[in-house]
Amino acid sequence: MCMKKVKAVKRGTAAVPKQPFKSHFKRYWQLYLMMLIPIIHILVFKYVPMLGSVLAFRRYRPGMSPFGTEWVGFHYFKRFLTDSMFWRAFRNTLVLSFMNLIINFPIPIIFAIFLNEVKNARFKKLVQTVSYMPRFISTVVVIAILGELLSPSSGMVNNFLQNVFGIVPVYFMNEAKYFRWLYVFTDTWQFMGWTAIIYLAAITGINTELYEAAEMDGATRIQKVFHVTLPSILPTIMVMLILDVGRMLTLGFEKVLLMYTPANSGVSDIIDTLVYRTGLTNQNYSYATAIGLFSGLIGVILVTVSNTVSRKLTGDGIY
């Protein structure tokens, strides 16, 4: 595979020894034509909204240009920086992101290591397949099932707690103190198996001689996990950690929106839901764009910094 790739690249470059562009285009115009429509698609649906962010600095009038009508400078930024709702959403976003990272980063690693230790190949395959399933399920379904399980009147969890421990039914979905845990653990449920794919691939790539050598030295299987498996996949873990830190502010906005109730809004209102409410529900388009732009920029900074760190430490990054 690798050889072929190298060959392909060589031939490709050999074919264009500083040809003038005109003859290059004449020869490959079909390829340029082929990507014309998709490129226009990207310009329209990705770049125009990017430019549309100028709305954060301009006043919007209904029915007029989506880029706004007149410049107002940092007016909307000043407004949200003094808005307590913004700071509440900002804090909620940070807390939820950190909780999510701390809990859901290590779990797939542990799962991958355990899965790799399963001896029976068919059982292993079964667990693997089943563990991918939740990733394919809509957030709507996840939250609907959660609502049924936790329902105070008919849910299994409350029935169990009442019958076994005599606890009065709790309306878990509506209480602020449970919101973050429910968010984090539904994420675990949905993505543990899926994220483990990358670690499993890394574990599969480990040289078996290392295990054989450890065995000769009289290592138990637990010792092999700690002294062979973990150190061998450490680079992968590092890259994944850095990338996860980079994108940690991108929370599952749709899930939060589905779980949002007036009663838990004190902890469940994150920046994305604030943008949604301000912009689409209350139609303060410019104000919402300003908030969105601000959090988008923080996201870009986080990704860029984490990627640079990843490059420096491991020589590997996403771009």
Binding site: I42, T139, G279
Partner: protein, 291 residues
């Protein structure tokens, strides 16, 4: 000898622990579903009395019969199939037409276009500018609002490009010498050879369209709603389950009917993904490492 015994014992305990954890994972993944299936197949009165756990009580199919008799559920289900099939087809078409030229390193300007794609992975316009653009284009309230804007996903595109790059050039060169156009070459030779990658990104696209509810909520009219939005509206009470539900036993009917909607709207995807597993596992590792 004693040392060997110790190692063997430690390994045995470890083995037991590993298998125990795996069984636990299996149960945690499956039980919520089994619970929903049991609910959907049970007699509403049994649900009311909290008799149902993981096995249906007084088995009956009335909730399934009921949901398929609701015209709004039927329409929503049909809408979902429509968006999934058309959306995925259009999405694949666009990504193949973009991915193939971008996989050719010799093509001039390729670097620029590739950077143009990658930049959008780091910064996007955000919710409001996207919303205003789609209303400005007068797509709001039409099914195109869902089908067109989300066609190109950058991560999927990169998986596809990486796969195209592994196809041996000899095959293409032979066809080009025979006078085949690039367009024909793409569809007759490259696409059939790329089935694993196309199956992977096709699955991702299909899952995206099948599961969408938020974009449908903000862009579509209620008669265009897909089944996920229908379910969400039942769950949060913005919509009654169906006209047939009498006021007295509305809540009990709602539970078994809700469960039936959950099962019916989830089953198709769950039935498909295991067959594509070997492809997407490969796609995931290739795409994420090289992406």
């Amino acid at each position: 000898m004693g040392k060997h015994k110790k190692i063997a014992k430690s390994n045995l305990i470890f083995d037991g622990l590993v298998n125990l954890v795996m069984i636990l994972v299996l149960l945690v993944c499956l039980l919520p579903f089994i619970y929903m299936i049991a609910m959907s197949l049970s007699d509403p009165a049994a649900i009311m009395n909290n008799e149902v756990t993981f096995w249906p009580k007084r088995l009956n199919l009335s909730s399934y019969r009921q949901i398929f008799s609701y015209p709004n559920f039927f329409r929503a289900y049909g809408n979902t199939f429509f968006y999934t099939i058309c959306g995925t087809a259009f999405s694949l078409l666009m990504m193949i037409m973009l991915g193939y030229p971008l996989s050719k390193d010799f093509l001039r300007g390729n670097n620029f276009f590739m950077k143009m794609v990658i930049l959008t992975m780091f910064f996007s316009g955000g919710l409001i500018p996207n919303y205003l653009l789609i209303s400005y284009l007068r797509l709001t309230g039409t099914r195109f609002a869902l089908l067109i804007p989300f066609a190109i996903n950058q991560f999927n595109l990169i998986i596809l490009i990486n796969f195209f790059k592994t196809i041996p050039v000899e095959l293409e060169e032979a066809a080009l010498i025979d006078g085949m156009s690039y367009w024909k070459l793409l569809w007759k030779i490259v696409v059939p050879l790329s089935k694993p990658a196309i199956a992977t990104i096709g699955l991702y696209s299909a899952v995206f369209f099948w599961n969408d509810w938020f974009n449908s909520l903000i862009y579509l009219n209620s008669n265009q709603y897909p089944v996920m939005l229908y379910l969400r509206n039942i769950v949060n009470g913005t919509m009654m389950v169906g006209e047939a539900a009498g006021s007295a036993d509305k809540s009990t009917i709602a539970i078994s009917v809700k469960a039936a909607v959950i099962i019916v709207s989830t089953l198709p995807i769950i039935c498909i993904y295991p067959f594509l597993q070997k492809y997407f596992v490969k796609g995931m590792t290739v795409g994420s490492v090289k992406g």
